[in-house]
Amino acid sequence: MAKQLTIFVENRPGRLSSIAKSLRENNIDIRAFTIQDRGDYGLVKFIVSNPSQAYLALANLGCACALKDIIAISIPDKVGNFELLTSALAQNNINVKDAYGFVLQTNLKGVCCLEIEEAQSAAAQKVIQAAGFTILKDDELYNL
């Protein structure tokens, strides 16, 4: 399954730049990122060109980070598609823990990343494919 790199960061200036610096020094390309604010700390989530190398680089810095399984879905950039996806999941009682998406080519192509409880992951993948969407292979996601 595709891996997302999740990093624990304190909410103070300079933390993101030190992570960014380490990724740059390791020649790691960032495909997407999002930050979840939890008050005194936050979780930064990255899709990168080489998640395990990025993980090792940050762990070496002493960061608390983890690789998490996600489902990355290729989704045409069209009105109504996100509803189609989420209602398919809802009808099958599948809960989405966290999600984010981005457009790759306007009016053509977008990507949606989903964190799903492990027990529901296999079922979720079937539902997504049955709804007509493609799940990106690991390499496809890392090399977007």
Binding site: R38, C63, K68
Partner: protein, 436 residues
């Protein structure tokens, strides 16, 4: 268990023999003290004008206490009892107030102190085959040179590293096959987090024992040290007013520290009244130095809170055991009227595996009330990337703290190695309340 003795006769002498030694040395010490301007005044107050006025150990209680402030006010020579030509060492501390204190040692004083330290170290089972890396700060701080001399007397190969420079400490342990170290507990925990960075594996090291000191710490911290390092850690106690390290030390049984009663007289008093507490109760440790001529020290108030065990140690030593230091009379925090020692928080925090080694206690005013914040670092290896895990962790720490200290703190999670750690004494408490 094999119980090694440096001086079996003295270490196992019965109480009456120990008390006879104490009385003889107390009389001698009072004689030396009467040569100093400070103690002439103190002892005159107690109607003691010569060593002959000390007839029994009970007479000790006639002598007024000596405090840190007395040492400051009498800086630099008010407690010097010998001619400067007989002084071979000076240790001084600047302290937080900026007014320094000083301790002078004669050749014989250094020799006595060194012998006590050899006794301490030997009682843990180290021998001349051991390689000893001293990670305590050298210079004016007694923890460095003092222990250095003791370790040499045992015959160990001593590496005088001093404090700090963590990567080099690790590399040195590997290069020379260090088997024993002298270190503060917080620094020992810190070094462990740097092994990977130094590209040294635990298996590359032959470390077996650590002597921890200079910083009060809980039994949980010892267990954590022993678990993550897979070594034996021995607690120690000392302060420069009483020579330095080696006043009390744990033997192979690691059940609190034998206080060498042929070298020091210990009293446990109620810090408010100055009266002795009942046997086995906790109170302020008061010590009289029986083995230092150049700077005599009578009934010194250490401000450390501890108790004496009343039961004997299976090792056979007759010298009583001092508990861990539970706090200091001056580091007790009063928060909304509740007495709190940082050690109480430390005990809770150290029980939780998802939390790393550093923590900070912060107190501030919110409106009329004091508010307590406990900052902890998350332990990277147990981080799963889930916000729910982190919230559950926060909740658990809050709940455990509340049941241990009654107060309801805010718990903050921090990144690994982000809280300030001085590579020596850890500063754990930040009190932001306005001073009255």
């Amino acid at each position: 268990m094999d119980v090694p003795f440096w001086n079996k006769e003295i270490e196992t002498a019965d109480r009456s023999r120990l008390e006879a030694i104490q009385l003889e040395r107390l009389r001698e010490t009072v004689g030396w003290a009467l040569k100093t301007p400070f103690y002439q005044k103190q002892l005159r107050q107690a109607k003691i004008s010569s060593a002959d006025d000390i007839r029994s150990l009970a007479d000790l209680r006639k002598i007024p206490f000596t405090t840190k402030d007395d040492l400051r006010l009498n800086f630099p020579r008010g407690l010097l009892a010998v001619d400067m030509k007989d002084v071979v060492r000076i240790h001084s501390s600047s302290g937080t107030t900026g007014i320094p204190t000083v301790i002078y040692y004669s050749k014989e004083d250094i020799d006595n102190w060194t012998d006590m330290l050899a006794r301490c170290l030997f009682s843990t089972g180290v021998t001349s085959r051991d390689v000893f890396q001293n990670m305590m700060t050298y210079g004016m701080f007694t923890g460095g040179l003092g222990m250095h001399y003791g370790a040499e007397r045992v015959g160990m190969a001593v590496i005088p590293m001093g404090g700090g420079n963590t990567k080099r400490q690790i590399k040195t342990m590997k290069d020379f096959g260090t088997t024993a170290i002298h270190v503060t507990p917080s620094y020992l925990l810190h070094i462990h987090t740097k092994l990977e960075e130094a590209e040294v594996k635990r298996e590359d090291l032959v470390l077996k024992k650590a002597f921890t000191g200079a910083e009060p710490h809980s039994e949980d911290i010892r267990k954590k040290i022993e678990r993550i390092w897979n070594i034996d850690a021995y607690n120690s106690y000392g302060l420069s007013e009483l020579n330095g390290p080696g006043v009390a030390f744990e033997c192979v049984y690691k059940n609190d520290m034998h206080l060498w009663e042929d070298g020091y007289i210990v009293e446990i008093i109620d810090p408010d009244t100055g009266e002795p507490v009942r046997d086995g109760d906790s109170g302020e440790v008061v010590l009289t130095n029986l083995i230092r001529r150049a700077t005599p020290m009578l009934r010194y108030r250490t401000r450390d809170l501890a108790y004496l065990h009343t039961d004997p140690c299976p090792c056979g030593r007759t010298h009583r055991r001092l508990s861990r230091i539970m706090g200091r009379t001056d580091d007790m925090l009063i928060i909304n009227g509740i007495n709190l020692f940082p050690s109480q928080i430390e005990e809770v925090v150290m029980r939780i595996p998802e939390v790393a080694t550093n923590y900070i206690i912060q107190v501030e005013k919110r409106g009329d009330l004091d508010h307590l914040t406990v900052k902890v670092e998350i332990y990277p290896k147990l981080f799963l990337g889930d916000p729910s895990q982190l919230e559950a962790l926060k909740g658990r720490i809050t709940e455990e703290l509340r049941s241990a200290i009654i107060l309801h703190p805010t718990v903050e999670l921090h990144e690994p190695n982000s809280l300030p750690v001085s590579e020596g004494k850890a500063k754990r408490v930040i009190d932001l309340r306005p001073k009255e």
